[in-house]
């Protein structure tokens, strides 16, 4: 046991020195999380609001201006221009200045006075179909609300008093009441960052030992594969924890993501995920024996699945069934579920234990495979 600890500690110490003396990998370990947080936290917002909108007002009456003020009052639309014909509106869409054109017909106020229904035309820039779809929904909402006010006014005039709508749906969103996308992007991002950092940094280390010929020497010494892996891992756990803490702090205080669960729950899940991700990088490294190949394999097997197949951005339920099946073996899927739960809902172990168990089993399995892989002789 003492020899085991002695050798593992020697490996860990050496690995630390490698990291400290290699400014490139150290910079990578710190810069990647920073830029990913910046990029995704800021630029990647799935919220659609302040859609640039041009209004074509062919009616130009107090009635149409009243409708326009409804649109202007909504935070979803950012009315950048009010014009009287289609030509300038069309240009605004073509130049990318506006995503939506809302056209009010010339008989708008007259038809309303007569109590008839009026068609409002909504033109959408379909090149961004997702935003167009959402903006269309917003437009329907605003028109619906306007309908209700107009009807109430008419009913009033007829002396019927205030008329309550027959059915009123009151929506209440739990855990993320403002439906802010960064509230689920930032926790998911922690998983992506850890997966990428853990796999990329470790994927280089054993491959480098092979390339420089040190592996041959190590294999001739009493060092055992599990000591080599645990030693290397402990150095990278420190980096992983530093990155995770950084991401949590930025998420909590810079992006204002609520952290409702306990730091202990967070720490335990981060550690169990890190263990598996680091083992995965080491396994790749042991197989590739070549830094470039290991790096590419690391990137491919860590970034893509944790980004696309983990439920980070795209709901797994919307994916084709075979892809959904694959997502079950992506550890970030489980980790992201835990992270979102801990951040937004303060789920306890009674809810997240299956995910945690999976992460532990995954880590143990990859650790075993990596150890066996290193146990093989040179040829």
């Amino acid at each position: 046991m003492t020899a085991f600890l002695r050798r593992t500690r020697a490996i860990a110490r050496k690995e630390f020195l490698h990291i400290l003396r290699d400014p490139l990998s150290l910079a990578m370990a710190l810069a990647i999380p920073f830029f990913m947080l910046l990029l995704f936290g800021y630029a990647l917002s799935l919220d659609v609001d302040h859609v640039p909108t041009v209004i074509v007002d062919s009616n130009r009456t107090p009635q149409s201006r009243d409708f326009i003020s409804h649109l202007q009052g909504s935070r979803y639309f950012d009315v950048i221009d009010i014009v009287e014909s289609y030509a300038p509106a069309e240009q605004a869409i073509q130049r990318g200045k506006a995503l939506v054109v809302i056209a009010i017909p010339s008989d708008f106020s007259r038809q309303i006075q007569l109590g008839n229904s009026v068609d409002i035309q909504v033109l959408l820039d379909g090149s961004d179909s997702n935003t167009a779809n959402i903006a269309f929904g917003y437009a329907e909402g605003v028109v619906g609300a306007y309908n209700a006010t107009v009807r109430a006014v008419f009913a009033n005039r007829r002396g019927a008093g205030d008329v309550a709508p027959a059915v009123d749906v009151t929506t209440r969103v739990w855990y993320n009441p403002d439906l802010k996308s960064k509230n689920f992007i930032v926790p998911g991002l922690i998983a992506v960052i850890l997966q990428v950092i853990a796999s990329l940094l470790t994927s280089l280390t054993i491959a480098r030992e092979w390339e420089l010929g040190n592996m041959e020497l190590l294999l001739s010494t009493p060092v055992r594969p599990r000591e080599l892996i645990l030693g290397k891992m402990s150095a990278f756990v420190v980096i992983g924890l530093a990155d995770a803490s950084f991401a949590v702090l930025v998420g909590r205080f810079f992006f204002g993501v609520p952290l409702r669960g306990s730091l202990l729950d967070l720490g335990i899940s981060v550690l169990s995920f890190l263990f598996g991700a680091l083992c995965w990088g080491l396994l790749i490294s042991a197989i590739a024996r070549n830094q470039l190949l290991a790096y590419q394999m690391g990137l491919l097997t860590s970034f893509l699945p944790s980004f696309l197949l983990s439920g980070f951005l795209y709901a797994i339920g919307n994916m084709p069934v075979p892809i959904q099946a694959i997502s079950y073996i992506v550890p970030s899927r489980y980790f992201i579920a835990i992270l979102k739960g801990v951040f937004l809902k303060d789920i306890g172990y009674s809810i997240m234990w299956p995910q945690l168990v999976f992460l532990f089993l995954y880590a143990a399995l990859v650790f075993l495979v990596a150890t066996r892989r290193l146990n093989q002789k040179l040829a």
Partner: protein
């Protein structure tokens, strides 16, 4: 340094290295062919031969890095195939590829190897200062290894390989790529270690280094074709003598002298030719007669002492004629 004199081994009586009918194949290629040999404890055993002769493969098998295809071997009394962990505890290995960590300092490298060889805590300081002394780096222990001259790196690698005082030391072409003076210093280090009781198994393709060994095995195409002490091998040149011939027309002289009865062998040596003859006086006479007849001028023709290189050239040529 009282602890260095008794080096622990599995069995006092066992030879340091014992190889029985060892064969290693890589697919169809036979890298090591039916090799058997024994190395006594405390010996400096040289493994000689051209590149690709199977020296490194044999050493790697002995270090437990490769599995033998056939045959068996013991190191310090432990079977390399069945007791790899015990073998690894008993050996130090230094390969031709420089294998310390370039981005660690001298002291950090020593500490690292101390750790992975499991040197006990109370012995570390002493072993470290000994290693620094051996490598001549006491004053430069905070220097990054990458900034050391090649000779010092080699000495440091050796010093790191013996931190756990292994009974057997495998050095695979330790001096390749090192300048001649550093090579001589390195061999002095090997002698020091041998005097302390380490068995040293060293491979090289430098013929002059063979003379430093107690015994040498010559490997050629995977097989050991000669095994003896350097003096015995030179004697083994078979009572023949060696003549050195300097002539401006090397090729024509070679043609003229080849296949002549009294001349056993003609080979290029340095800028001239080495002629192996049964009797040096008769050989000189025959050579003069033949070259004069062919009109080839002779600048110098005299008997010389056979070098290790002559021995190997003749052994390899004899092997090829088989």
């Amino acid at each position: 340094m009282s602890t260095t004199s008794h080096v622990a081994e599995a069995s006092v009586s066992a030879p340091a290295v014992s190889i029985q009918r060892l064969t290693k194949r890589f697919g169809d290629f036979v890298a090591v062919r039916d090799v058997s040999l024994q190395v006594a404890r405390g010996e400096i055993f040289g493994f000689l031969g051209p590149n690709g002769a199977g020296k490194s493969t044999t050493i790697r098998i002995l270090c437990g890095l490769l599995e033998p295809t056939e045959g068996s071997a013991t190191v310090a009394g432990f079977d390399v195939a069945r007791q790899p962990e015990q073998v690894k505890q008993s050996i130090g290995y230094m390969s031709q590829k420089f294998s310390l960590y370039d981005d660690l300092t001298v002291a950090e490298n020593i500490d690292f190897f101390s750790g992975i060889y499991g040197v006990a805590r109370h012995l570390r300081a002493e072993r470290k200062s000994l290693a620094l002394e051996l490598s001549g780096l006491t004053e430069r222990q905070e220097a990054l290894t990458r900034n050391l001259p090649g000779g010092f790196k080699q000495r440091l690698a050796l010093a790191c390989a013996i931190l756990h005082e292994p009974p057997v030391l495998f050095l695979d072409e330790p001096t390749s790529g090192v300048d001649p003076i550093a090579r001589r210093d390195f061999w002095e280090l090997i002698y020091q270690l041998s005097a302390k009781g380490h068995t040293i198994f060293v491979s090289t393709h430098y013929m002059d280094e063979a003379e430093y060994c107690n015994r040498i095995a010559l490997m050629y195409r995977g097989a050991v074709i000669a095994l003896d002490s350097p003096t015995a091998l030179k004697r083994h040149l078979g009572g023949s003598s060696l003549l050195h011939l300097d002539t401006p027309d090397l090729l024509k002289a070679m043609e003229t002298l080849s296949g002549v009865d009294d001349i056993e062998d003609v080979s290029v040596f340095g800028g001239g030719l080495h002629l192996r003859v049964k009797d040096s006086q008769a050989g000189v006479a025959v050579t003069r007669r033949l070259l004069d007849a062919a009109g080839i001028p002779i600048h110098r023709l005299e008997p010389v002492e056979a070098s290790m290189e002559d021995v190997f050239v003749s052994l390899i040529e004899a092997e090829e004629r088989k």
